[in-house]
C-alpha cells in the first residue's frame, strides 16, 4: 500500500505550479477584458466557456494531480461525467422556444 505515497513525490514542482497559477490568472484577465469590450453574446459565451474548460482542465491536471495518477482513475471518473453534463443540454431547444410561445410575441 506504499505505492501511492511514491506518486506524491513524483508530482510537479513548485515552478510548474506557479506557471499554472499565472496561466489561470492570465486567462481570467482575458475573460474580464472580453466583458469590458462588450463582445457579442454568442462569441462571448463561446470564448468564456472555452477558457473556463481550459482553466478547469489545468486545475484538475496539475493542482488536483490527475495528470500524475493512473490513467484508469481518469477513465473511471471523467468520460461518464462529461457525458452526463452534455446530456443536460437536452432541454436547451425547449428553453429557446418558450419566449416565442408567450402571448405578445
Amino acid at each position: 500500500m506504499s505505492e501511492y505515497v511514491e506518486e506524491v513525490h513524483a508530482a510537479g514542482t513548485t515552478g510548474t505550479y506557479i506557471k499554472v497559477w499565472i496561466a489561470l490568472l492570465a486567462m481570467t484577465g482575458v475573460e474580464v477584458l472580453l466583458a469590458y469590450e462588450q463582445v457579442p453574446t454568442l462569441i462571448m459565451l463561446t470564448a468564456l466557456l472555452g477558457l473556463s474548460i481550459i482553466k478547469a482542465a489545468l486545475i484538475i491536471a496539475y493542482f488536483m494531480h490527475l495528470k500524475f495518477e493512473k490513467l484508469s482513475l481518469f477513465l473511471t471518473l471523467f468520460p461518464m461525467l462529461i457525458f452526463c453534463i452534455i446530456l443536460m443540454l437536452i432541454f436547451l431547444g425547449d428553453a429557446t422556444r418558450i419566449p416565442h410561445m408567450r402571448p405578445g410575441f
Binding site: 506524491v8 505550479y17 466583458a35 462588450q38 486545475i59 494531480h65 495518477e69 461525467l81 432541454f91
Partner: protein, 209 residues
C-alpha cells in the same frame, strides 16, 4: 496457487489498489464527480432561465461589481496555489510549513467569503434583490443567482471548517500526507466551480458605462 498469491498480492486479498490511490482519495474523487453534477445542473438551470427570459437583467456594473468579483476570483485562485504548497510541504514531512500554507489558504478562502457576503448584502439591502423579487422584474434572476452562489459559498465555508480541522491535526502531529492531499482535492474543486460561476453569472451580465 497459494505460492502465486504470496509472490504477487492478489486483488482478492485486498492487496492491490486498482487506481494506485488510497481509499480516502478515491472517495473524495467520487464525491467531487457527484458534486460537479449538482453544480452543472444548477448552472444549466440558470442558463435555461436566462434563455427563456429575453429581458434578463444585467445587474453588474463593470466598476465596482465586476472588479470586485475579479478580486474574489484572485483570492480563490491564489488560495489554490497555497494549498498545493501545503500538500507539497506535507509530502516532504514538513508539518510546520504545511500548517502555515494551510493558514494562507484559509486566509484566501476567508477573504473570498467576506467579499462575497458584502456583495450579497449590497444586492439585498441597496438594490433590493431577494430570491423572490428584484427591481428588474425577472424574479428568476434572484432565485437562480442566490441558489447558485449560495451553494458555492456553503462549499467554501465547509472547506474552511475542513481545513481548520486538518491544520489543527497536522500541527498536533496527526494525519498523513494523504489526508492533506484529500482536503486539497476538495479545495481545488471549490475553486474549479467558481471558474464556471464567475464567467457565466458575472461576466455574461456585465454592464459597461
Amino acid at each position: 496457487m497459494s505460492s502465486q498469491a504470496s509472490a504477487a498480492p492478489s486483488l482478492w486479498d485486498g492487496g492491490g489498489s486498482p487506481y494506485a490511490t488510497g481509499s480516502k482519495k478515491f472517495g473524495m474523487w467520487l464525491f467531487i464527480v457527484s458534486d460537479s453534477l449538482t453544480f452543472s445542473a444548477m448552472l444549466f438551470a440558470y442558463t435555461y432561465s436566462r434563455v427563456t427570459n429575453p429581458d434578463w437583467p444585467k445587474p453588474f456594473d463593470f466598476s465596482p461589481a465586476i472588479i470586485f468579483a475579479t478580486v474574489m476570483t484572485f483570492c480563490l485562485l491564489s488560495s489554490s496555489l497555497t494549498m498545493v504548497m501545503a500538500v507539497q510541504a506535507m509530502s516532504h514531512g514538513n508539518r510546520k510549513a504545511t500548517v502555515r500554507w494551510i493558514l494562507a489558504t484559509m486566509a484566501g478562502g476567508g477573504a473570498f467569503v467576506v467579499l462575497h457576503l458584502s456583495e450579497w448584502m449590497k444586492l439585498i439591502n441597496v438594490e433590493g434583490v431577494t430570491p423572490f423579487k428584484n427591481p428588474w422584474g425577472v424574479p428568476l434572476f434572484g432565485g437562480t443567482f442566490f441558489a447558485l452562489t449560495g451553494l458555492h459559498m456553503t462549499h467554501v465555508i465547509c472547506g474552511l471548517i475542513y481545513l481548520t480541522i486538518i491544520a489543527t491535526g497536522v500541527g498536533r502531529g496527526k494525519f498523513k500526507a494523504e489526508d492533506v492531499e484529500v482536503s486539497g482535492l476538495y479545495w481545488h474543486f471549490v475553486d474549479l466551480v467558481w471558474m464556471f460561476i464567475f464567467p457565466l453569472v458575472y461576466l455574461m451580465s456585465a454592464r459597461v458605462g
